[in-house]
Subunit: 374 residues, 2 copies
């Protein structure tokens, strides 16, 4: 980083189905919580960067920057960043650039989605916006379908079994039981995952992160107001369509962002002890730890098997991940950074990482967080 940037405060709504709250309500709740946790005045916010994917389609609302700015008496400059489900990390990255440019000293990054305002089929269609409208959508495939194909190919290449894959969601649900902001806080056995309704073979219902409402807010500051420093912020892109990729069992954008993030932070991969990764589907959780370099190709499942057996070699998705916390798509990248930070402070660990992507790895954002008091 060219300028020290600290996570000065953070706020979350519980993720879930918030029928009685509007998108504005959720944004306000998370922003208020973040301000409270930072001890700062609202007037100290120089810029608001909103992360959102679905407001146009699910809420008939654009211009969320102005909407968020209006939550503040001084109406700070504001803009919205969108990179599908990777919107949260791309918004964080944009905020870092503004802080490094000297144009802002304190930025509120606010990710929010109100997905349950629209019927399920409309949400599924809108989420397909994250794939390629010319190359993918005409086939009639949905996102669970895309990750189903990825799962089929992965199992074919690496002999992963259905029973092994079921461990991933079981670990996520167990981890979420202590997380008051998680959408689902009940235990889930691997057998229950395997027995859940088929969605897109091999993926079953409990392999899929849910449709959730929720908001997450991070206050980034150039002043040292917390022990949590952003050690790296990197993003990378890939094709929207999986049909244009050399392989579908790895996401090159993750690999590219990760190697640049390690370089920027000036640390080794082994320095990182806690990871929040983008488990939109269980198979993605397996692939991601391989792309991040924490497991060899075809062996990502081992990290979840070790965690399920009670002797994790790496803390992965201690929050409960997207599966159990819920996945209000653009809020997720921020929630990951917040949860990585909480784990660093709770366990007195020095380095953690948040890994977020949009589509099938078409836009990836990685942030490395340093607990300077650990």
């Amino acid at each position: 980083m060219r300028q020290d940037i600290f996570l000065a405060g953070s706020g979350l709504t519980r993720f879930g189905e918030w029928w009685e709250k509007s998108l504005r309500d959720l944004m306000s709740e998370a922003a208020t919580a973040a301000l409270r946790s930072s001890g700062m005045s609202p007037l100290e916010i120089d810029l608001v960067v909103v992360a959102n994917m679905l407001a146009e389609t699910a809420n008939d609302q654009a211009g969320l920057g102005a909407l968020a700015s209006s939550l503040f008496p001084h109406r700070p400059p504001a803009l919205r960043v969108e990179a599908a489900c990777g919107s949260g990390s791309l918004a964080l990255h944009t905020a870092c650039a503004f802080l490094e440019s000297g144009r802002a000293k304190t930025v509120l990054v606010l990710g929010a989605e109100k997905m349950t305002d629209a019927p399920a089929n409309a949400v599924a269609e809108a989420l397909m916006g994250a794939a390629d409208g010319e190359l993918d959508a005409p086939s009639g495939i949905t996102f669970p379908g895309i990750f189903g194909l990825i799962g089929q190919r992965y199992m074919h290449e690496y002999d992963l079994t259905r029973e092994q894959l079921s461990v991933v969601s079981a670990v996520h649900h167990r981890n979420a039981m202590d997380n008051p902001f998680a959408h689902f806080r009940q235990e889930l056995s691997p057998e229950a995952v395997s027995a859940s309704p088929l969605v897109s073979d091999p993926l079953r219902l409990f392999d899929c992160s849910p449709v959730s409402d929720g908001a997450a807010a991070c206050i980034l500051s150039t002043a040292r107001r917390s022990p949590l420093r952003i050690a790296a912020s990197q993003v990378a892109s890939d094709t929207l369509s999986i049909t244009e990729r050399p392989t579908i069992v790895s996401f090159p954008a993750t690999r590219e962002a990760m190697s640049r993030a390690l370089l920027e932070a000036g640390i080794e991969r082994s320095d990182i002890r806690a990871v929040e990764t983008h488990d939109c589907f269980s198979i993605a959780a397996v692939i991601n730890v391989e792309d991040l370099g924490f497991a060899r190709e075809g062996e990502g499942i081992r990290l979840y098997e070790e965690a399920y057996a009670g002797h994790p070699s790496l803390f992965v998705n201690m929050s409960g991940g997207l599966k159990a916390c819920g996945h209000p798509v653009a809020a997720t990248g921020l929630k990951q950074l917040i949860d990585a930070g909480k784990h660093l402070e709770r366990a007195s660990i020095r380095y953690g990482l948040a890994h977020n992507f949009g589509g099938a790895g078409a836009a990836c954002g990685i942030h490395i967080l340093e607990n300077i008091e650990a």
Copy 2:
């Protein structure tokens, strides 16, 4: 500006109804033209910032950053910025922050809309996303309706006549006759404007900018590759809803961004000789020159009357403005910067300004351009 930034290249598609081209086609055409004009290799692009408002609703496509990145062999990092019709200038502002941060040396800013893929009523609904979904939309009002109310109030306060207002579009159409990229290149008399069908009293059809397809691309570089330097980049926010404003005959976000832009550029308002301003409706063109400080309140029409009479005191919308060039909403802010630059070079003028906003002035972006060879 904390870092010299130059407009190293630019490209436009002609704005219009491009039934046979996709959003990707338009983006590619503008990006290719910008690269060609800059003489740079595609591999020199460090980052792509896409400006777009309507792709989710009109084209079922999100993740435009990744889509734009895929136009390049090295797939640079990319993100999308949205601030309704102000998306273009907010994207330029974001690109400036990345250049000033040191994270990029060359940024492609690419604004594009493919509005004619959706039926007119769907486009009108989607554009209402730029107003407040809770405070404005339930009334059933549309954007021409919002600016109709603004027009009514302005005429009441300042005794502007219908005949006077008609001069605005006449000036814009005359200016566009030499612009090969304009949607409409035919002359339009004030009488024809006054006689056109009523849309939202007092606004008639020819007071309204059209629904257009189109793309505009700017290559911003920290290297001096052209005589056009960005002397200031400022943005400001206001409420989405006009119901929360103390007045509707002035847009405070314009005033705020303008005063900060003059400060940043270190120049006087009178140094600026050419302005591209956001005439989404004729009445906005009148209000804007007042908010920018080039006319007193209630006297904005005089600038257009002088121009129509052939002795302009300020060059306003020499491109033809949104009315005659067309208004592919997120491309507009970039097109304004490009056209301001063209006028500075053609007329050997030193300072020009591009003024773009979203909604009814809810998000405003102002860029001051300096022709360092004038």
